[in-house]
């Protein structure tokens, strides 16, 4: 049985994933940093890539590259097949109804900007966009730009001290003027998994579209956009083991159909004359210019890779590792966890009394441990907790308890150094 078949069998039988074998797929993890084995705990910023993704991109550039959608020659055909093949893989991965609803973008940020620019174009002064207090800057600033442009108002739903959305308050903020609800599925700074389902049910009854920022959810759990019934779902390839520079906007056809193009250029048109230009059909209407073809190839390989392991198996594995890590870090003297929601994905944000997060980050780096420090592009969250930033360890399915132990050893050294 080859490794792929073994993986499939594991997934089908519900067996725990084989972390050792998975780690061997990620060449970057097999290195030393500052004379220590690398413990990469910064996957919420960007995940690492398995050899399968690296090979797919290499193969594409070595054998299949040309421009898509416009040539009659063999290479253009192959490139188009590869590019459109990934669109179908994405459709299956998130269970969208049609590939017309899968728009390739640069990433989550561009996906959100696309909706803000296009759907938001006919929002009026006094109309409202509802977001939450725990959004990443990329789900705040595009809406602020829109508000500046056409007088729309940004309404912010509150969170509690555990870093959970106050759902009732949030529902109470939906008004007759609400034109869109934009909310993160999983908070990058706190790890909170939001009850987006409940929000969507209420929004649906009032015919208000909901955009879900899925950047931090898509690598960690199975996402079914039809079961969620969201109107838009945005995510990035690089957080799910794929290349940087490509992401996805899922949008229900009913919205995408009526939305004007986001950018103009080649590929997004049917015909151009100086009198009249006809826009292309979905999803090409939103994909102006030569796309990131190699990025799509890599994303396709990443989806294959994740699907073989199975997202439910990844979610179950990471949940266990999160419990282990939370307990190990939480027991250290002076540690305060930031974000203690009942439902969390693999993010542990924390502060240690008397040690600034940047100093923690430098000391850990010396011991081969990569974490993120700072405000994590969520300054309103930091302001809510009255802190400048946090140290954040974030998990992926290629991490294991050894990584956590190495982190804890590093933190103990930091505490000791600062107690001198």
């Amino acid at each position: 049985m080859n490794p792929n078949q073994t993986r499939k069998k594991d997934a089908e039988s519900g067996a725990a994933l084989d972390n050792k074998r998975i780690r061997s797929d990620f060449p970057i993890l097999a290195q030393s940093i500052n004379n220590h084995p690398l413990a990469y705990l910064d996957s919420a910023a960007s995940s690492q890539r398995p050899q399968q993704v690296i090979d797919a991109i290499r193969h594409y550039y070595s054998h299949d590259h040309s421009n898509v959608h416009r040539g009659v020659h063999t290479l253009s055909h192959r490139a188009t097949e590869a590019y459109e093949g990934t669109r179908e893989k994405v459709r299956q991965f998130i269970n969208a109804e049609s590939t017309s609803e899968i728009v390739f973008t640069k990433g989550t940020t561009e996906s959100i900007n696309l909706v803000a620019d296009s759907l938001g174009r006919d929002f009026s002064p006094g109309d409202e966009i509802l977001i939450s207090h725990m959004e990443h800057h990329s789900n705040i600033v595009p809406w602020q730009l829109l508000c500046e442009k056409n007088g729309t108002r940004l309404v912010v739903a509150p969170i509690n001290n555990q870093g959970e959305l106050l759902l009732d308050d949030c529902l109470g903020l939906i008004s007759d003027k609400t034109r869109l609800i934009a909310i993160t599925h999983v908070s990058n700074a706190l790890g909170t998994i939001n009850p987006v389902e409940n929000l969507i049910i209420e929004a649906r009854s009032r015919n208000i579209p909901v955009l879900v920022d899925g950047a931090q959810a898509i690598p960690h759990q199975a996402v079914d956009v039809r079961a969620l019934d969201c109107d838009f779902y945005a995510f990035s390839s690089h957080k799910m083991c794929g290349p940087t520079g490509i992401g996805v906007l899922y949008g229900k056809q009913q919205w995408l159909d009526r939305m004007p193009p986001y950018q103009g250029g080649g590929d997004m048109i049917l015909s151009v004359s100086f009198k009249e230009t006809l826009y292309n059909e979905l999803p090409y209407k939103f994909e102006a210019g030569t796309p990131n073809i190699a990025g799509a190839v890599g994303l396709g390989a990443a989806i294959d890779y994740l699907s073989e392991i199975s997202m439910p198996a990844i979610a179950a594995y990471e949940a266990k590792l999160l419990t282990y890590a939370t307990s190990a870090i939480g027991q250290l003297p002076g540690v305060e966890l930031v974000g203690t929601a009942a439902k969390k994905a693999g993010v542990i944000s924390f502060n240690i009394e008397g040690i600034h997060p940047h100093d923690i980050g430098t000391i850990l780096d010396h011991q081969g441990v990569a974490i993120r420090t700072g405000h994590h592009c969520a300054m309103p969250v930091m302001e809510f907790f009255g802190i400048a930033g946090t140290a954040r360890a974030s998990l992926a399915f290629y991490n294991n308890e050894d990584d956590i132990d190495q982190l804890v050893t590093g933190l103990k050294l930091a505490i000791k150094m600062f107690q001198q």
């Binding site: 600034h356 940047h358 010396h366 400048a388």
Partner: protein, 152 residues
């Protein structure tokens, strides 16, 4: 240098002491000059206050939040600058920023006294801004610049 020693070279005892109990920390109500500095990458903020007596910097304090490196740098800065003329202060701060940002040059310990304890930061490109933020803020205060200066 072993890895652990390299770390100890960054976080020398005097650096940790200054960061724990910074000198001249707090708001200076009588300040005739002040400026705010910001490192948007980490959210650190610092305000530097000065009072002048003629051409002399009579008092200098700072307040804010920051990492051990930026707090120690600010604390040592106030001790270095206090009592100097504006002209000397300007030349000192320009020398210090230059020393921090040029790791290839040898550190002139005679010239910068206790600040030598911070010279280890030059091996950490991502942390040099922590050390220079207080000095750049001081420069803005002397120049009467009321806009928040930024490391970026």
């Amino acid at each position: 240098m072993s890895d652990k020693n390299r770390l100890m070279d960054l976080y020398r005892r005097s650096v940790l002491q200054h960061s724990r109990e910074p000198k001249n920390f707090g708001r200076l109500e009588s300040a005739s000059l002040q400026a705010e500095g910001h490192n948007p990458l980490c959210g650190d903020k610092i305000t530097v206050y000065l009072t002048l007596a003629g051409e002399n910097i009579e008092e200098i304090t700072f307040e804010g939040i920051g990492c051990a490196i930026s707090l120690a740098s600010a604390s040592m800065m106030t001790e270095t600058i206090k009592g100097k003329t504006i002209l000397t202060a300007e030349s000192t701060l320009s020398d210090v920023v230059d020393a921090f940002t040029h790791p290839e040059k040898p550190w002139d310990s005679d010239q910068h006294g206790e600040l030598a304890a911070l010279s280890g930061v030059r091996q950490y490109p991502s942390r040099i801004k922590c050390a220079t933020l207080p000095w750049k803020t001081l420069s803005a205060a002397i120049a009467g610049n009321h806009q928040t200066i930024s490391t970026e």
